[in-house]
Amino acid sequence: MPQIYKLLTGLLAFTGTVSLLLSGEMNPAFSVVGMGLFPGYYQFLRSGLTAPKWTVSLLSFLTLIVFGFDALVSRDLFLAVAHLTIAFQVIKAFDLRDPWDHLQVYFVSLLQLVIASELMSSLVFGGVFIVFIVLLVAAMVLSHFLTEGGYGMVKMVRPVTVITVVTICTTALFFVLLPRTPYRFVGKSHFRSIRTAGFSERVEFGSFGTVKLDPTVIMRIEMEGRRAGMDYWRGLTMDFFDGTTWRHSERDRIPVSRKDDTFVIIPFRQEDVVAQKIFLEPIDSDVIFCLAPVKAIKAESFRLFVDRERAVFLPGKASRKTVYTAYSSPGEKVPGIAEQRYLQLPGGIQKIRDLAGRIASGGSDDRGRASLIEEYLKKNYVYSLTVRRPPARVGPIEDFLFTSRRGYCEHYATSMVLLLRALGIPARIVNGFHGGETNEFGNYLIVRQSDAHSWVEALIGGYWVRFDPTPSAQAAGPSVSALLLDSITMAWSRYVVGFSAEDQRKILRSVALPVALPSLREGMRLKWNPYFFLPLLIFILVVLFIRVRRRRAERYGFATVQFLKLVKVLRSRGFNMPSPATGRDIRERVAGSALAGTVHEFIRLYEENRFGSREVTPQDRKRYAAMLRQIRTLPLHY
């Protein structure tokens, strides 16, 4: 067996295992176990040695026990299977005896890749996938050449390239054609979500400080006609503050009715709204973000909810990259009712009440007073992410307002809400994202964890008005290369992970348009079924298969095909055949068995037909068939 074949098997096992480890979902212990691949294949490549049978059996037994334990304890069969495949690959690395073992490695690597595809959606997977396809195709082509006899680097390159390209094209075709549904491949999701701050049901005061320096991308936004002020990505609002924690006092969520694939919250006219296509990374919250006020959301989900503050929620935590389009009409006034909960205040805030009165004394109406408070906070306090812990028995807001005078958006926004409420103006805090940087490559907006922001909405004259008392802080932009890299990630999110039913329809329509009749176009949306392609595809594959068979017969001639059959039959009868085998190789191996006579005659006939001047006569054909039958059925020993 040539070294390159062994190497390919090793690389395949490695790629499969690495794809799992890259997902970050594997138990760290199995990362260590995975390292076992290196000594295994090193030894295999160097000396072709395998571990003794009993060690392999023992290890396999132990692995099964660990697997059972793993599945029972973690209650996650999916991850347990993933762990099992890693252990299997490592054991196999020490136990590669015959071609069948190599095939097992291929199969398990493929399984690993399928599992990994469920575990991660990053760009890295695309790279791993391509590498895997190339390796697998090379390994299969090589193993084909080995059984058929005769391989060389020159011979290899062409079929590997052709088949790889065909495979990737077919995969792409399937990718485009397979129906998109909101169903998941496996019930439970195994994505690791990004930890965020500010979007859970209770928000501990000060939690934003931990994420303000985190450059992790939360979402990418494509949007037409962006204007100034359109950079407040509203998440959820909170109305109840107990001195250290914000929460929401009304937890009702109302399902939104769905029309086609659009969830309409408030009926709207297309020309009044700004559409934002948002690619949201998996985060640890079910809230989704958009400009306010939101009118409708287009998403491939079964259900969608809003709360009374018009925050929009998915049915569950965004467990993988979520793609949705939000239709909002920024600038439109949002009417509101002055409920008592917007005036709730924690106890012991007499000092704050006094301060509110002092600041707002010059204001003639609610709007003026609110603006004065906003101005006051902006001017008299220092934006800083390093905030000292307030002394005992002093609330963080009190400390910020009267002593430290240093803080970040949470301090400013909470202070303003409290000050407004102290003046009797209904107000609530809004958590979301603010700003984001434009990526010229691809023309979209990158919103990072560090763009997390809190601001204020106050009910003035029956409408909710946004105030942002936080002074703006300048941050250095990322480098060009970082932006370029991000645009590739965006393309991956956009065209691979976020490839939607709508995109499918778009492609099909553009493909079908030149030939389709106008009446057909109407029904295409519903009636078009990608499975129509399947019979065609199968037909093409069958034709290709037959052609390859015929080509093979032409290339080899009748006698060779018979000889290859003989090798196959003998192999199936338990004879260890080298590949390619020569006549003598076979004679030596069957010597002493009851087959020897027939095999000798067979080989003699083959050699005469193949290398001698004897033409294959119809009698010869019959003789081959008869001898093959005998060799297949005769008992091995007398």
């Binding site: 006899g149 005769g150 006549g583 290398f611 001698g612």
Partner: protein, 307 residues
């Protein structure tokens, strides 16, 4: 195709040199392929006996030249002497003018004399003083040599090595045969008394039949692939020449004929490669032919066999 005489020859030779069927077969194959044979081994394992037995089993003229360090080219080719009676120079053929020439311990003589053999071995003729004399048919040189690492030897030049179709080693006989050999009468007397089992005509006919053995295209490709690989192999400084490939093909035909076939199979090529190519390559690191044979075997294992 009848192989009766060939079987007799084989039987005769193996009765003299027991336990060396493979070496005997290869010697016969070389003769069938009209090549020259180089037998290399330590002194005293039957090299000369094999050559002598082969010559005596065929009804051919036989000459033996014991190569020594002071042997001159004229000693083997012959000299022109002035004949007083007819008053002109007359060529007296040397021992080279025989069907089978045993060049014993060829690496004991100096390169000048060694190279005198070159023309004879390749072209089956010798030129003396601008006159060319044809050597008799069939013609074969069986050279024996001691391994190069032994005292008092001149290594054969590559060009001369290349003219031998095959290079074989005998090795010590297996214990039971060695016992027989020790107990039985020694010396070459009984060899001299042997009756030939093959006539000269038989031999010529078989050589002609050998040439007609069919080598299918893929066999030639296979053979050339092995030869080609010797020129690319990283451990080899000098690969196999085109003449080497010609000899290889002739040897393949001869082996096929010897096996009773009128067509060659890949196994013939596989079997012969180490014997035919081993002495034709020069390794980068080690200089002994035995190392080269190992490299050739490695190459043969690597090149895919035609099916």
């Amino acid at each position: 195709m009848t192989n009766q005489p060939l079987k007799q020859l084989q039987a005769r030779l193996t009765s003299i040199i027991r336990g060396k069927e493979e070496a005997v077969k290869m010697a016969t194959v070389t003769f069938l392929g009209q090549g020259n044979l180089l037998i290399e081994d330590v002194p005293g394992v039957g090299k000369t006996t094999l050559a002598y037995a082969l010559a005596k089993s065929i009804d051919c003229s036989f000459q033996r030249i014991q190569f020594t360090s002071d042997l001159l080219p004229s000693d083997i080719i012959g000299v022109s002497v002035f004949n007083q009676e007819v008053r002109e120079f007359e060529f007296r053929p040397g021992p080279l003018f025989a069907n089978i020439v045993l060049a014993d311990e060829i690496n004991r003589t100096n390169p000048k004399t060694q190279s005198a053999l070159l023309e004879a071995m390749n072209e089956r003729r010798v030129t003396v003083e601008r006159r060319t004399y044809r050597l008799p048919e069939p013609f074969m040189v069986i050279a024996t040599q001691n391994p190069m690492e032994y005292q008092g030897t001149f290594p054969l030049p590559e060009s001369q090595l290349d003219r031998f179709m095959m290079h074989i080693r005998l090795g010590y006989p297996a214990p039971q045969y060695e016992r027989q050999a020790v107990l039985e009468q020694s010396g070459f007397d009984f060899l001299d008394r042997l009756e030939p089992v093959l006539t000269r005509q038989d031999m010529l006919r078989m050589q002609a039949e050998t040439e007609a053995v069919l080598t299918e295209e893929s066999i030639v490709d296979y053979l050339l692939a092995i030869v080609g690989e010797t020129r690319r192999h990283e451990m080899i400084r000098l690969g196999v020449s085109t003449r080497g490939a010609q000899f290889f093909l002739r040897a393949v035909k001869a082996l096929a004929y010897h096996e009773g076939r009128d067509y060659a199979v890949p196994d013939d090529v596989k079997d012969l490669a180490p014997l035919v190519l081993g002495h034709r390559i020069i390794l980068k690191t080690r200089k002994y032919i035995s190392d080269a044979v190992g490299v050739i075997s490695e190459i043969v294992d690597k090149i895919p066999v035609p099916v």
